[in-house]
């Protein structure tokens, strides 16, 4: 069957607006008409330049160290979408495309080798806000599946929001269920609409794929191939949070608890091993980590395991079939799992769990698994060599060997960490008599000192003084400690410092008593030896000093030497000598490195060519500086690995003791288990957030309603207090503003300021779950949030400026607290609280004017709100207990919302106050001076109607007619003048255009001539 699709050929347009436009556009417009493109306005040019600078500046990001390891861990590809939108099918298709493996079921992360340099870990996102937040925090690439037959769903938008707040990774969209559209035209419209909606949500030009149908339970191979190509070229930007924190998404979880312990108590805390690729930064045993949904834990140990899905070691042209590996321990791909020292057959359930329905074969295997292996049996057995000797166990036999392996960097047997821990029976380490234990570092150090140098007397002295000063006078300055000499090969310094266990503190140094000063003068101040430490050393010759010394000297000379003439002279003299010597040597044609040295010197003094040529800007410099730190770290990695650092990119097993049994019992492979490092982020504090209600969340948020905040690795429930700063104080808000940012104070663990967060309510009440987003501003132990309080009182007794106010306070003690406070009446007369009057809360107050008995006096005060210290980490992987909002409690208990009558809004009815007119008795008025008397002033009489006689009327009529005639004449004159003007303007215009054309023609010919002349001239000069 011929399925080849034929496309209609593209038809070039021959008419219409677009063609016209094309014709109009000149190819070399700028070249042909330079004047048109010349700068016309300086202001405009300036503006344009500034705009360009601004656009350029916007492209800059704060430089960030790119810590991506040389062999990066697999990219985490999160496949997210509403139920039934084709997530599983997509993963299956992609896995099939990469490994030719068909997964029957997808549980947990699936890692595949996708290319010569790239691996991918697919994780399907469960439809649950906890899983979505956790996955949003670790995903490198997100594939959003969208059911085209249904449309966008809220989950998709919620997830995008979670991504944005936790550092936006790359996002691709996949449109599925397109086979439902039979009408091609309709399909086209749908695709376009989806694309544009998707672009507004992510960014313009975001990639959206269309998967047209399902075949054999997979999407079409060609479409999947296209998708995989885009996945393989995806570029990642380092995200601030992830590049400063170690993290891991566990792809395998093993319960290591002693089965015997579980038999006794099935609810005992478990020892759990989590396996996964380490990402972000480095990790180490005994680090503290947070598992979102389970809480904070301390790692017991971290161990590097061989990579289960390695990138082919040799560079090949294309990926070999046998390198197309797949690793999905929870999905039972191959059923067999290799650990460092064991082979596991994956049975999905561990032995101690409920075995409700299992096949016979499975049961048999389970039973097999229960049997102790030989090594286990051996481990438990013990035997004695002699009748009264301590029995020897397998453990005791094995341990020293292990340590020999792990150390390996020093030749002789020396004290190790375990040796001092272990009991007296352990004899292997006591062979070295110097390392007799943890008692006396100092003594040992002194012994070393005497071995190496001649200051044994001095060190003995210090020992003596130590002994003496132990009787209480430790603060004496007599503690003259000789520093430990270290340049001795025989003792491993690491053991010396860290060899002891923590519990045994160094007792001999106890008497130092926080004094770090050493007042010991070493006796062997050999002048010749000492001279080597000074720049003025006359015996300085190039064979003794390395080239680095020379260079370094130079670095500082130009900066500081000017301060002292003497120094400069001597230095320059010595330099001259050096130069001369070197020059001489050079004439003999000596080594190339000498030449290089000289050249460096020259460059230092006069500046090298290439440096001045490419001067680096600030941004470039910062980036290089960061890169240098990263490179330094890379160089030291091997060294540091000996102290058990695990690096990003490695496949790591971490063991956690004391994991609640619920973690294993209710383990669901569909939920991601993330393990994030929390360096210095454990103390609890009050956090100030800048918060904004999400515009799609239908309600505003209320102070006191417990809110779940997802920030950093954590998700926790807390009670926010919203407030706003009015430049003077933080005013509490009962509700968040509708479309504005406000601040919120919550109680939670320290978090770096500037981290984004996302908030939602524990119980989903609305279509759109994300209630608010924002950033962390500050961590502190105290936030001063106030709310306004208005106290009202009534005048009891009024004197002139003094009044006694009652019913504001209840006792004189309360009044005493408010002495001096400003008060005010409703009519605006200001006053002050003076002093209590009697003991019933009445007080004397003064006002700027006499107040009325009907006035209400009020006092405006601010009351500090205590912030609720509630922090409840959401343990969604264990069992969730959470605080409910008041509304939820009311709903569950069927309680009505309290309804206060006083709080109702109702129209205010005010009685209009009528004031009687002021009446002055006649007798009083008579006595008043003239100025104060009421005056009766005669005003102008109103205009009266005029009755004209006949003569007057005729005159008036005549005047009217004359006026009319005059007006008419004037109008006509105006019109003719106007017409004449217009005619003249027309005439002028015609003349003008004629002249213009003439001038243009003239100019054109002139320029053509000129151009030709120039051309000729140019040619001639060239020749």
């Amino acid at each position: 069957m011929d399925t080849k699709q034929t496309h209609k050929a593209h038809r070039v347009r021959k008419a219409g607006a677009s063609v016209k436009k094309k014709q109009q556009k000149h190819k070399n417009a700028e070249k042909n008409n330079p004047k048109a493109f010349a700068m016309q306005s300086a202001q405009k040019a300036d503006r344009m330049a500034r705009r360009k600078a601004e656009l350029d500046e916007k492209k800059y990001h704060v430089p960030m160290a790119d810590r991506t390891p040389t062999v990066p861990p697999p990219l985490i590809v999160a496949v997210v979408g509403p139920p039934q939108s084709g997530k599983t099918t997509l993963i299956k298709s992609l896995v099939r495309r990469y490994t030719k493996n068909t997964l029957s079921e997808i549980r947990g992360p699936v890692t595949v080798v996708s290319g010569k340099h790239q691996r991918l870990t697919f994780m399907e996102c469960a439809n649950d806000i906890s899983a979505m937040t956790d996955l949003a925090k670790v995903a490198d690439l997100v594939i959003l599946t969208i059911d085209a037959s249904f449309g966008f769903e809220m989950e998709t938008f919620e997830f995008l929001n979670l991504l944005q707040t936790h550092g936006m990774p790359k996002v691709m969209g996949v449109l599925t269920h397109l086979d439902g559209f039979k009408d091609n035209k309709r399909l086209k419209v749908v695709k376009k609409n989806f694309k544009h909606r998707f672009w507004t949500e992510v960014y313009d030009g975001a990639k959206l794929f269309y998967l047209s149908g399902v075949e054999n339970g997979r999407y079409l191979d060609r479409e999947i191939l296209n998708l995989s190509r885009f996945v393989s070229v995806v570029k990642l930007r380092p995200l601030a949070w992830r590049s400063t924190h170690p993290y891991m998404m566990a792809d395998r979880i093993q319960d290591l608890t002693d089965p015997e312990l579980l038999e006794a108590n099935p609810k005992a805390n478990r020892t759990v091993a989590l396996y996964g690729y380490l990402r972000g930064t480095h990790m180490k045993g005994r680090d503290r980590v947070h598992i979102p949904g389970a809480g904070d834990y301390q790692l017991d140990e971290t161990e590097k395991l061989p990579d289960p899905c390695p990138i082919p070691d040799k560079e090949r042209k294309r990926l070999d079939e046998r390198h197309k590996l797949i690793y999905a321990p929870m999905s039972e791909v191959n059923g067999v799992m290799y650990d460092k020292d064991a082979v596991y057959i994956d049975l999905r359930k561990s032995a101690h769990e409920e075995k409700a329905e299992e096949a016979e074969g499975e049961r048999m295997l389970n039973e097999l698994q229960k049997v102790n292996t030989i090594t286990d049996q051996l481990a438990t057995q013990q035997f004695s060599l002699f009748s009264n000797a301590k029995p020897i166990t397998a453990d005791a036999l094995r341990r020293p060997a292990v340590f020999d392996e792990s150390k390996g960097n020093e030749g002789s047997v020396s004290d190790s960490g375990s040796a001092s821990e272990s009991t007296a029976g352990d004899q292997s380490s006591s062979s070295d008599d110097e390392n007799s234990g943890d008692e006396d570092i100092l003594r040992r150090a002194d012994a070393l000192d005497s071995n190496d140098s001649d200051d044994s007397n001095d060190s003995d002295d210090s020992n003596d003084s130590d002994d003496q000063s132990s009787d209480g006078q430790s603060s004496e300055a007599t503690v003259r400690l000789a520093p430990i000499h270290t340049g001795v090969k025989r003792v491993n310094l690491m053991d010396l410092v860290y060899g002891q266990s923590d519990s045994s503190q160094a007792k001999p140094v106890e008497d130092i008593d926080d004094c770090i000063k050493s007042l010991a003068i070493s006796d062997d101040l050999d002048e010749s030896k000492l001279r080597k430490f000074f720049i003025t050393n006359p015996g300085d010759s190039e064979d003794e000093e390395g080239s680095s010394d020379d260079e370094d000297k130079g670095d500082f000379e130009d900066l500081e030497a000017g301060s002292n003439d003497e120094d400069e002279q001597s230095a320059s003299e010595s330099e001259k000598e050096e130069e001369e010597e070197e020059e001489e040597e050079n004439e003999f044609g000596l080594a190339a490195d000498k030449m290089k040295k000289l050249k460096n010197k020259f460059d230092r003094i006069y500046g090298s060519d290439d440096e001045s040529g490419t001067k680096k800007d600030f941004y470039q410099q910062k980036k290089e500086e960061l890169q240098k730190y990263v490179d330094d770290t890379r160089n030291e990695m091997e060294e540091l690995a000996t102290i058990n650092y695990r690096w990003a990119g490695e496949y790591v097993k971490v063991v956690i003791n004391d994991m609640p049994y619920e973690f294993m019992q209710g383990f669901n492979p569909h939920l991601p288990v993330v393990l994030g490092g929390i360096p210095n982020e454990e103390g609890l504090s009050l956090i100030t957030l800048r918060i904004k209600r999400h515009r799609w969340y239908p309600k505003i948020l209320k102070t006191g309603d417990p809110l779940v905040i997802s920030v950093g690795w954590r998700r926790f429930q807390t009670i926010p207090t919203y407030f706003m700063n009015d430049r003077i104080k933080n005013r509490m808000l009962k509700y968040t503003p509708e479309h504005m940012h406000c601040s919120a104070a919550v109680y939670g663990p320290y978090i770096q300021p500037g981290t984004g967060f996302c908030a939602y309510y524990m119980k989903r009440a609305h279509n759109f779950g994300v209630a608010a987003t924002g950033t962390v501003l500050e961590n502190s132990q105290a936030i001063d949030i106030v709310k306004k309080v208005k106290l009202t009182g009534f005048p009891d007794k009024i004197h002139r400026h003094t009044a006694y106010i009652k019913r504001m306070f209840n006792s004189s003690l309360e009044v005493a607290k408010f002495e001096g406070a400003a008060i005010k009446t409703v009519s605006g007369i200001r006053g002050q609280v003076k002093k209590a009057h009697g003991n019933n809360g009445v007080f004397r107050a003064t006002f700027e004017d006499k107040i009325k008995t009907s006035d209400i006096v009020f006092l405006r005060a601010f009351h500090t709100i205590p912030i609720k210290r509630f922090y409840n980490p959401i343990t969604s992987l264990l069992s969730v207990t959470y605080m409910r909002t008041i509304a939820e409690i009311r709903r569950s208990k069927n309680l009505p919302v309290p309804n206060k009558k006083d709080s109702h809004y109702k129209p205010i009815e005010r009685v209009v106050k009528r004031f009687n007119p002021l009446r002055i008795p006649k007798s009083l008025e008579a006595e008043l001076p003239f100025k104060a008397k009421t005056k009766r002033v005669l005003t102008d009489a109103p205009s009266r109607a005029v009755v004209m006689d006949k003569q007057d009327k005729r005159v008036a009529d005549l005047l009217g007619q004359i006026n009319l005639l005059y007006k008419d004449k004037a109008r006509k004159r105006r019109e003719t003048v106007q017409k004449k003007k217009e005619d003249y303007a027309k005439k002028r215009m015609a003349e003008e255009s004629e002249a213009d054309a003439r001038r243009k023609k003239k100019r054109k010919s002139f320029f053509r001539r000129e151009g030709q002349n120039q051309k000729g001239a140019g040619l001639s000069t060239k020749d």
């Binding site: 520093p483 270290t486 000063k517 001063d784 009351h863």
Partner: protein
Amino acid sequence: MHSWRALQAVRNNSFRIFTRAHSYIATPTTAAFCVIGDEILNGKVRDQNTFVLANRCFELGIDLQKIEVVPDTPKAIIDSLQQLSSCHSIVITSGGIGPTHDDITYDAVAQAAGLQLQYHGPTLRRMRQIMMKRDVKTLPDPQGTDEERACARMALLPHPARIFYPCDQLWVPVVNVGKIHVFPGIPKLFDMLLSAYMPQLIKQMGQGKAFVLQFEGPAFLKQRLVLSILSQQAVRIDRIRSDDENPGLRDYEVSLLRLLEKATNGTRIVISPTGTSVMLRPGMITGGRIDMDCPTSRGIGYYLEALVALAPFGKEQMTATLRGITSNNTDLSVDLIRTATLVNYRNFGLGEGVELRISKRGSAPKGGGEVRFICPVVRTVKPLNFVDPGRIRRIRGIAYATRVSPQSANRMVEAARGELNRFIPDIYIYTDVYKGAEAGFSPGFGLSLVAETTNGALMTSELCAEAGEAPEDIGSNAARLLLSEISRGGCFDSTHQWLALLLMVLGPEHVSKTRIGKLTPFSIQYLRDLRAFFNTTFKIKPDAQTNTVLLTCLGTGYTNVGKKTT
């Protein structure tokens, strides 16, 4: 913004109802103890459990805040339990779980939590087993005789509850309902069960760094306290001179604790009554204005060193005015701190705006000096890569004299120059002679020297005169001290190794590397303490050729979370 001015403006604008200290305390775990029993109230029995519990709580760093004694009446017990559990995260009861009719604790607990009582099978079984072993006649039986029923009453527990049997040899359960933990009242049982139950309690303490690092002895007290605050890790130090005839904390240590409290917000310090143990739950470093009179048993340097480690990581710029002894032979003098310690800051990108002004000098024993330390805050520290110290380029110094002839300063300079001039001509030693009110209360003089290398490494030495010593001796000895310091090599001298170590650990997640001359015992302990607090181990590699030590570590990515963003 909580600037002082803003608060002042609020005060001026209106009046506050409640004036309150601005130190909230963030302690996740507080405990209360409820002693139940008439016999305690009417004086028939002396309460011993309180002492035991208080002791255990202190050991674990649990903040025991309230102890109530209530009679055997249901209402009293329920009220007390409800009230206590509303304010505290752990409530422990003792007494009232016996077989008699007035033992009603389980009943009251059940009522307080809104639960039912139910016979607890495992407890009954345990009871029977252990009683049988001891040949007790009356075995518990809910359906048996009165005596048997009374016995079974002891297994009538609230349901659902978490039941623990901490001691194997005892059948007595510890019942945990929410925050309430029910213990028996008999002191012996109480003690046994409590000590066995403690691990469980620690788990109950919930999130945060609940555990407390423990140390012993008075040595290294300062660094441990400072590290505790920086790492937000509670610390407890025991056996502080407990065998001494004058036991407990010294006055300067108490002052240090006070200073730390001033420089932070939310720090809780508990000192045991004997003064031999201290517990510190760190708060946040705030900075701001600090004003303190330091006791004359130690120099100002003792306190400044703590501030030097803390101040850059505060909430706002620290301006500390300290009064006391400016230089002595035990502690770093303020001169050295100014000319070397604070200059060493710049290797870590911290130096900007740091200032130490010496307005008055005070010699031992009476002191009377005054310095002002100003330190702006930073968010992060730069990683250090300082391996090559270079060679000594110049030597600077300060010779000070208070209340003595100004000539003695010049004499010290002469003597020191005599020693050092052989090596380098670029020596400049300032003479700093104080008179009158600025010279403190005691006569004294001393010399501090700093040698700077081409690469900016600083080698220091200093010496103060003690009674009867001649200026010439001080001068030449200080110079020889400097030479011995120089002969050790390295990028940081022995007095500043700790600073380098600390700031390397506090750096970002990159490698920091440096070279030091010789590891002093102090630094060795510092390295151990850094591991205890920050879980950071240094790679220590001796360099046999130069007799120096290379130190490498990975920073912890410490960020100053207190610094505000806009």
